[in-house]
């Protein structure tokens, strides 16, 4: 019963097979290999547009490098106040941008509120020398709260940004989970909605370590090779990244993996809704379930070896405030979550009431 994060799972067999298959013979290093090229082609095909694609080993690298490509050292990066780039990367965006400022924006359940974005953009007028200059907006799809933006919401936020000359990045660590939940195409959810650059995350959804930075306009990627290299993120045996990315995208494998993860979250949700005393403060839209558990349920689950994340009280409305020893917890499912584990988790919760 391992629901602490989707990166606690291993890799899909298909991706491991691809790594093995890529092993024979020699290949050019540093991303000049055929697998990396095939990955760029495959991404371009899936996104229905010629993209510049750069593979890196971690999601933090993908995010920080993407932001650095669009943000000068004296720039502002606008993000949700609970975003991964803000809270969970130990200052990587500040490091890679050489000191840009991340400006947190409010919004319920992990989603930037359009009004709050407007106010923030107004507070950072271009040309006011004493302040950092507006540069980049980053949207997490799915969000840290397991929610997703609709295509129309992305487009509206991106339009606000573009009107002020601000570029739009999408942190897609759980991109596939959002995509299948939204039933949109990759193109609709990104460049057609105004996204300029995407961190496309494979690791949380079945890869061993593989993320892609996807530029939807090649011209803006002109110096990315140098940024990646000096960041130490140009893997010498690039074939082992390329092979993962191709296998992940090929034949809709990525979507299958994400559908399984999301379905397990829905199963967990359905089960928890039958447990008296458990409250669901907001509904999961991808592979993350947030629930308020009575103290004894929490205790019983932990005693049984279940793993999940204590979320403090972040994101709870007053009407949902914690009472009498309740805890707000996050459970994440993955491509590898077994239905039996979900069922057992629910069973233990029920028994504890």
């Amino acid at each position: 019963m391992y629901f602490s994060s989707d990166n606690a799972s291993g890799a899909s067999q298909k991706i491991l097979d691809a790594i093995l298959a890529a092993n024979g013979g020699h290949a050019l290093p540093y991303g000049a290999d055929d697998w990396s090229k095939a990955a760029e082609e495959k991404v371009s095909e899936v996104f229905e547009r010629d993209c510049a694609v750069f593979l890196v080993p971690t999601g933090t690298a993908a995010n920080a490098l993407s932001l650095a490509a669009f943000t000068p050292p004296y720039g502002a990066v606008f993000c949700h106040e609970d975003a991964h780039v803000m809270d969970d990367e130990c200052g990587a965006p500040e490091f890679f941008t050489a000191g840009a400022k991340l400006v947190g924006i409010e919004g319920r359940h992990g989603k930037i509120a359009p009004d709050a974005l407007a106010q923030t953009l107004a507070a950072y007028p271009r040309g006011l020398v004493k302040q950092v200059q507006p540069a980049t907006l980053t949207l997490s799809q799915a969000t840290e709260s397991g929610t997703i933006y609709t295509v129309a919401e992305i487009a509206a936020l991106a339009e606000q940004a573009h009107r002020k000359g601000v570029a739009v990045h999408m942190d897609g660590a759980r991109f596939a989970n959002a995509l299948v939940s939204l039933n949109a195409t990759p193109a609709q959810m990104t460049w057609q909605a105004g996204v300029d650059v995407l961190s496309l995350g494979g690791t949380k959804n079945g890869a061993i370590m593989c993320e892609a930075v996807v530029f939807f306009d090649r011209d803006r990627a002109s110096d990315f090779l140098y940024l990646r290299k000096r960041g130490g993120h140009t893997v010498s045996k690039g074939r082992f990244l390329g092979a993962q990315m191709v296998a992940w995208l090929d034949g809709g494998h990525w979507l299958d993996l994400a559908r399984h993860a999301n379905a397990q979250a829905q199963a967990l949700l359905a089960g928890l809704q039958t447990v008296p005393g458990v409250r669901l403060p907001w509904l999961p839209q991808v592979n993350e379930v947030f629930a308020v558990l009575p103290g004894k349920v929490d205790k019983a689950l932990k005693s049984a070896g279940a793993r999940y994340y204590d979320w403090g009280g972040r994101g709870l409305d007053e009407s949902n405030a914690l009472r009498n020893g309740e805890v707000l917890v996050r459970m994440v499912t993955s491509f590898a979550t077994e239905p039996e584990d979900v069922a057992r988790f629910v069973e233990i919760a029920k028994d504890a009431v």
Copy 2:
């Protein structure tokens, strides 16, 4: 006939098997997994000392992060003028140290000359505010020229450094190749000779992507976790790094791989010594052969599809200067180099004369 670099090879089967074996079940992310812990223990065992070990995906990351751990932004890093950190990492050390200065030192065939180090250290006195401050010496073992320092040479350079309060880093991208060539123990070649921190390279010697930063004194590693994290080099599914490192070290596998690579270099050397007109300006000590080829030999080899690196004229003494269309080239062998390829390479060279 692929001799361009050892990173053009894939991975050893044993390492791939270890990746597959590590795949089942769940594991804690970000290096808290059992495989990463086992890697730390294995490294400590092999180096006969309790070490703090941090796995990262690339050699540039290992080097730049190591240097950043010992060098303040206003510091000087002393290295050979042709070192990888100086010439081949697109400024990664400057980036990770927030602007330290790399000071190149002369020396034949890739090795820092003791006198030149003494002069350089004298030119950077501590406390002279207008200059960057002496911080770190980095030695490449093996060097970029395929040569190695003896244990005594390492100790003598390290002693010079320590006397001035300068820490010693070793870039061990080809550490195993040097080790088997020198017939020393890992301990002798590092901490017993004065090395404070080591980039231990697995990738060029059989891993898919796996390097370890090894601190021989835990106290000096106190903030490395943060440096690695904000550099985007903390891999979430750490088990896939840990598994590689353990498999690589286990049962002397790393030494076997390195012995094969070195032996192929010696075979190539022996073959080339029989080709009229080919000159060996200095002798290979690991898995890299540098040779001066007559123009027609070079042409014939390239026509036959052989791949290797044109080295310009770097490192040639006047007595060995290029004449009449000769070229200085570098050939690198690896764990995967097939003896048939070496033989064929030599055959073509002979036929071309």
Copy 3:
């Protein structure tokens, strides 16, 4: 009627005289001159403690360098959400710290609320690798809202910080104004209350350009000379900084200048309180008056050439919200403010009602 800022004034005659007096003969450069040494002694005398003192030309330099001396690149700087370092220095603290994160804390009228500090410190536990690490708390005395902390308040906030291993910086751009208002000694308002390093601002209070970074513990200043030098803030003709600082502190000149400025603010306050429709949302404690002006008063003053700063609506409680074209404005007085200008300003305001 120039109330836009205290840096719109020139310098005091005594300081100009000191610059002239320092001009004759030769002097050692880069802060090794006798005037810089005298400044260090004078500061130490005034603060009743042996201090390490470094002169720099601007307040942004003093703040950013001070923070950099205590904050690693992966560190967090805690400050009021409206602090100068947060909003008015174009990212200088992020630049000088090589990418640390400034974390804004709430509090009425520019002062960090103790509870809010406690919550923030709790949210940044030491050792949680995914987050930046707690490093420095910075307090502005006086604040951006023209208010001041009492000595007890400073001590209480500093104690919270120190308990977590967090150093305490004071941004004293208007230190003298706060000091005379509080009727405390320099020692009481700083190191005796737990301040580790101070930006002591001369420029806003009568100097042409002169700020001092004051370390109350010499040991913590060990690498400041390098930070200052590579920041380009080591003035070669240091005598011209040293002479200003000595003249400013000598014979209580700095306090006289500050008393005049504060008194003019009180006069302005008293005058405005007699103008119908003008509201004072909070009371000035130093040389800054914040007032809500009816639209027609604002218009009349501007037509008459008065200069002051439109403050948006920042800091207003709901009970004081702007109504019917009112504007919240900031007026700053200085050592050079003439009483006639204050009187005329009030007169025009009255006439406009």
Copy 4:
């Protein structure tokens, strides 16, 4: 007898008078004042071209900010191996560029040799990802060795740079000294010869602290205001920089000051040429004299209180190598050097032989 550096002198009376004259009344802060505007106009007039001019308090700031405006973090700055930016600014260029690499180039007596520049540019081809990318060439006029480039030499080096897309910066800490020595116009020595941006130094030639960064193409200065601000180099009472720059340039005052300094160097040279045993390894072209002194002459001068700089043996040809206790020293004259001091210096030297 103070010949250690020209920054050991105070300021010219005309410049001090200008500071006093600028003191009255109020002025807009942060460079928006009338004096800063007048300085921009005056520089534009003197250089016969519309220039974007930014005043800063130190030469290190002027150099580092100029380089940062043209050099990306992954860029190379080409300079003479003994340049001030390389050796005397504690890594400021690396800091302000966020980690660019300074590449030293050889050349006699402080001047970059055209052949050496060509070789270096060839060694840094654009697009070779593993290396830093060619960005900026910086020429010191006058050089650290007291020599100057002719206009034709500047033009030839700049042309080499521009052909490779490399911008040209001039470090003009002693610009006026070079100008009067060369008998060229400011325009001829800069933009007409291909210089893109200039550090125009007032401090070493009569100002208290005032340097200008001069862009000869406004379009390339678009983000300089932010770089200067976050560097802490935007002086709030900008009038005191503007007034210095205007007074310095006005009526040829800067040239008069420089002519005096240069003339004193020539007088010192003429005097030393009459002292048996003193050798002049190269001839001074501005206000710096380099001489090889017999040990006893050196001792006698120091005993008499003369101050100058021991230069090690840097820059000496073999034919001029130091013998029997000789020392190579640098003497710098300034606008304030008194002829009597020069005469006395020579007298003591003579007596010592």
